[in-house]
Symmetry: D2
Amino acid sequence: MAGGAAGQEREALLNAGERVLNFDWPMIRVGTGEYADGPTGVTVFHFADKVLGAVDVRGGAPGTVNTEYLKLGYDLPEVDAVVFAGGSWYGLEAATAVASAMKEDGLRDGNAFSAEPNIALSVGSIIYDFGARRLNEVVPDKRLAQAAFRAARPGWFPQGAQGAGRMAMSGYFFGCNAMSGQGGAFREINGIKVAAFTVVNAIGVVTGRDGSVLACNRDPEWPAGVDTAQLLARTNGPEGIGSTVADPAGTNKNTTVSLVITNQKLSPAELNRLAVQVHTSMGRGLQPFATQFDGDVLYAVSTAEIEEPVLTSAEIGALASEVMWDAIIASVPEQPRHPEPRPGLKLDRGLLKQYAGRYEFSPNVSLEVTYRDGALHARATGLRDVFAIGRDRAITLTPVNETEFTVGNRYPLTLRFQPDGPLVINPGHWQQVSRRRLPM
Amino acid sequence: MAGGAAGQEREALLNAGERVLNFDWPMIRVGTGEYADGPTGVTVFHFADKVLGAVDVRGGAPGTVNTEYLKLGYDLPEVDAVVFAGGSWYGLEAATAVASAMKEDGLRDGNAFSAEPNIALSVGSIIYDFGARRLNEVVPDKRLAQAAFRAARPGWFPQGAQGAGRMAMSGYFFGCNAMSGQGGAFREINGIKVAAFTVVNAIGVVTGRDGSVLACNRDPEWPAGVDTAQLLARTNGPEGIGSTVADPAGTNKNTTVSLVITNQKLSPAELNRLAVQVHTSMGRGLQPFATQFDGDVLYAVSTAEIEEPVLTSAEIGALASEVMWDAIIASVPEQPRHPEPRPGLKLDRGLLKQYAGRYEFSPNVSLEVTYRDGALHARATGLRDVFAIGRDRAITLTPVNETEFTVGNRYPLTLRFQPDGPLVINPGHWQQVSRRRLPM
Amino acid sequence: MAGGAAGQEREALLNAGERVLNFDWPMIRVGTGEYADGPTGVTVFHFADKVLGAVDVRGGAPGTVNTEYLKLGYDLPEVDAVVFAGGSWYGLEAATAVASAMKEDGLRDGNAFSAEPNIALSVGSIIYDFGARRLNEVVPDKRLAQAAFRAARPGWFPQGAQGAGRMAMSGYFFGCNAMSGQGGAFREINGIKVAAFTVVNAIGVVTGRDGSVLACNRDPEWPAGVDTAQLLARTNGPEGIGSTVADPAGTNKNTTVSLVITNQKLSPAELNRLAVQVHTSMGRGLQPFATQFDGDVLYAVSTAEIEEPVLTSAEIGALASEVMWDAIIASVPEQPRHPEPRPGLKLDRGLLKQYAGRYEFSPNVSLEVTYRDGALHARATGLRDVFAIGRDRAITLTPVNETEFTVGNRYPLTLRFQPDGPLVINPGHWQQVSRRRLPM
Amino acid sequence: MAGGAAGQEREALLNAGERVLNFDWPMIRVGTGEYADGPTGVTVFHFADKVLGAVDVRGGAPGTVNTEYLKLGYDLPEVDAVVFAGGSWYGLEAATAVASAMKEDGLRDGNAFSAEPNIALSVGSIIYDFGARRLNEVVPDKRLAQAAFRAARPGWFPQGAQGAGRMAMSGYFFGCNAMSGQGGAFREINGIKVAAFTVVNAIGVVTGRDGSVLACNRDPEWPAGVDTAQLLARTNGPEGIGSTVADPAGTNKNTTVSLVITNQKLSPAELNRLAVQVHTSMGRGLQPFATQFDGDVLYAVSTAEIEEPVLTSAEIGALASEVMWDAIIASVPEQPRHPEPRPGLKLDRGLLKQYAGRYEFSPNVSLEVTYRDGALHARATGLRDVFAIGRDRAITLTPVNETEFTVGNRYPLTLRFQPDGPLVINPGHWQQVSRRRLPM
């Protein structure tokens, strides 16, 4: 279901999503919030009790709250929540808002009443999810994060383009520009539980255990069935590198943020080792990974529900790395379909003229659609391009059916008109809705 | 004067303070916000252009936003603001809120319109300023921080217990428990400008260049004129250590957060060296410093207005260390006076009875004042003590004058009654105001 | 052929190895030294000019020299050499010895003669290559490292169990205990050169791009053609984890040390990003990787021969990651063959009696071989087991041919006797040679 | 008296020094080695049992062995020795040599015989002690370090210019160029022992608790009794900074390396906090400290002999910081006296002519002394100046007595001739001895 500003405030979609991971672990409570008119979102992991946390910061453009404290190695469960959000650095407001909510709701206070630590410790990281990938700069905020926190419930996680992964993308390195999302996975072996969660917004391509590319708008010139190893081999060929990675539109900002949790009690040193090992292992499911243009951060948590050691940190790490790979795979949402124009379709001139007009997506992004010579033509008129439709000259729209048009391109692009209504670009989960201005 | 909730919302005091540092540096804009009914506050340093930043995390209990990014050594001015706040980890909301304000106000956006970085980068750290030191858990929030940001103006900084330093304290290590604050200083030599700012909430004692203790509720048994070296020598004596540092009330949480700025262009490596050198030098003005129970963080910024090197990083560091020591000294506010009971003062029984009643400071902190045998007696009735007035038994109040009473103690404690009004504890800058409940 | 102490001093084998990578890059000079009677060794990378270096320490048990300096981000070429060695922490003597050699040879001095840095900067790391994997504690030392340094020559690298990789092993996590080594690879694209070198002593298994296990003494119960993904799946099965990773013999010490070099000039921040990206990518070729029981360290170097940027750090990183995977694959040496006893072989009693005796491998490791009932029996008599031959009871040796015997085991074990000579265990590249003591 | 090459090998002075700290702590064994003809040296701290270690790297030019391992926070006593040495990065050979010696001597082996860690862990750091401060590049080496290790004995530490501090200097920032050394101090309070050791080679000036400058060749123009605060104030004055810090001769390389030890068991996190706190506190006794031109490193060790906590890390830190300040003060050696020429002294022409000649201090450093016009004249003829005697023109020597001459200078400089013997510059503890070449 779609958003749009209803009345004063933007509507917050809570715990949305059809594809859900269920797991038996009351300690882990998950809530998500989304603003559909970004879209963008936030995912809150709230632990029923304070837990021990560690962090591994690996990427070249991280945004973080409270990582420093996690590095000091205290053997004290202090972490209440891990928060992931879209919105780049602006989304860090979500992480701080969850701590505030815990205080407002009386779960934590100011440490006034006991010698025990009772200040909420909320840590978190963000992904970059705007720029050229959408036509507005809506970001998750305090209000959305607190709503998500309050909607959290145990043993549940929505897979795909939900929560913080609502507008995630992947594969920019190869020009894939696939839609991405958040993924989770869980295993229990001999009483040891491991859960892994990740918001995949990687410059790399999501790769299956057989090496297959799991999400990509493939270059039509690629051979059929190209896998990640072949893509990398091509990239490294004499003409390969540099051809697809140029970044004129400033979209070259990526980040994968992750969380791994075990119920075995680990020392701070062991938990830190677990974080490093699992984070490193993610270079298998995301290729390349941890580049300068990613801001990868992984949090590791031990709930310490199992106090006696069953596995070494390396064993939990190997297990958790497999679970994390499952989570990476689970993050891939169903991709938008490519519009297929009906051959020979001729639309009525009167209908086309009704579609002509000026459509505004956000203060600086507008599209001007004109009728001329039996066809619709579109040109971006604001400060930015509208995806493949540039600002320098009008481009002819190809009709797909009576209401939908497209522009031939590697990437799916659908413009759906309504005679008296807004223009919706890429109708569906990631749609961009415009307001109609005065007709030309 | 001071706040209390006016209508719906808490009143935000902006840019308050009498003692002000003025300096000629348009790049540095400072704004402060305070909630008097904490009290607590926030200080925002907003740079007119993006600047290069570095960070040195030194203490054992830091709270931080976006320090990780500063550590990667990119030679790119990215920092928009440094934010310091009270409220412990809750106060980090202030740091994230300033970035949001920059976006809301159109100063920064989502990097959509250019290849240049145009996402607001707000970094920040917090001090612990509640617990046993006040009777409520009011903390700085998004609203206060954004108001302070919008009130920022160049070349100006309020000294003492203002902004983020509104409820700072110092010297807990020696039982000083002095009121503290924020300090700033500035020097310009041969065109090189250096400014230093610090919010001193140190477990250590503020020390002058001659070794003198600059803020302390001294132990009556200490010899007159005791200096820091002597205090440390005593501490280390056979009975010394451990006697004053026990922490039954959970107040043993401290942090000094600092900022040093130069206008000479420095490389990322040099700027990092500057941060380390200046932070280390603060161990002179604050003794001890950088303990496990401090969360010390220092940010270093180069505005790069002077592009040609004039001084080495070590020279700027030596200069900035002296400026920082000036800032530490400037942070000390005028201390509250010790109440001096008038000898032989006898108050009218009727008046005393009017003062009896139940006073609530916050949901969990209340004081019950009763009349008995010609005197007032007080007992804390909530979950916490009311400073020196405990919960286990009533304590007799000593009249200071017709409206004020005290309890004999190393630390100043004044209770000011009004026949029909609230009880105010320690009237003045750090006062705690109660609501009066039904009389007994 | 192999060493043994000749006269006073152990023989140093320099630049040994049949399988060689040749590459066109005069800046990179490589020399290796080996003590065959360990065996153990050292590999020296000496740069013709000082180069910029960065380091990524990832594993849980590193041994390092001078990594701290590389982290400070100075934009100054300072590194002269990267040294890898066996011998665990003892092998660090090799890294410091190379700097000494540069001074002794007059390549560097004490910075006395110019304002330019002229002190040799040799950095390095080690692998663990003794313990249960061989019967002595011979380690690389100053003498061996200096000899290797002086034997260095450009554009050349010996692949497999040579140099620092002379006694490397891999795959302990799955019980593979395969012989391993050092690998190198090189590519040049559009003038950008990338070389990668690694000494693979990983707890993980060496994995090809198709997921295949490239070196492993496979468990006979494993299905044919098992690949790494299946091994990990088994490991994580209900009974899997923990069964093979127990470490009674203290062999659970591993480390992969690596070096990546590019000729494009990179800033310190970019070079650091390159190190992180490539190191992370190695989790594909080594699974698991970067565990608590590895001490993984990767150095990254820019020779800055190409001053104008051609590729981004992420692109060089992707390229270098592929080159590094090639290097990992190239590290695998030809594995020792499993001895195949000739069915029905009966050896002469007189011959067998000539083999009986006490064989000493090192002061604390001895084997007692006795004749009884038509067969040879062996028992370890020192402080340690002799591979599969324990100290608690004698085990019957199975004849392979007239001079060789074996013990049925997952791992190849060959004992070659000579009537009047020493017993050699696993004759060949990793052989263990004993001295014969008085017969029983 | 001092060394010089005796026969083949340089003489190693072991455990030299008159001024000694004695303390009751069998766990701490100290040995020193010196080459007088540098001079330079090494100091070895060998712990009777393995201990828990932490490290704080603070300076801008460190040289280190095995610091990475100490940062991982394992709660396992692993450290055998801390080694400090002169020789800049070349001196790191000393640190690795001590581990080798422990293996050679059978104290540690290759972990072959037990599951317990039994590999020697020797960590260490170096100071820069050559360049313009002496006329040769003799450095501590494996042989010297192993001899010092084997000479180590408990409860003993030589103060001043001994061991690693043999050629240390301090105060370069203010042009002091004072001779420095190593210092140690010890206290025991309520059963808690704290020892601190430091090799002071700081760019800053050694400062007493009253602010006094403890070692400096003062500028004749400074007011009498100038203290550190005044020096810093001058430095920061309009003309101050930069005037004394220029570094034409490349001497601007400094480093203070330190060790703090307590017998109370601390967790890894607490021990790390202790390291940070004590290191920071050293900014009081050395001003400035931790600059880009220092390579400061501090190791912290807990012997865990007292298992029950008596003090917090902050308390031990405050205590240890005072002990460290004592150690800094104790490091100051008796300074060389300034030669005072006897007024009106006229030396016999024949005697002077006997002194004329060419004197070689090391391959690249020579002094040519000629007789002309009733006086001696000297000029450096090698690649470097000979302290204040440059290479561009001859300078007249002023006779002090029959055998000693000087050159007017802020810094003491004495040339002692012998008719048929070598020229000794600055005879005494830091003397530079030449070989006499053919007379002119």
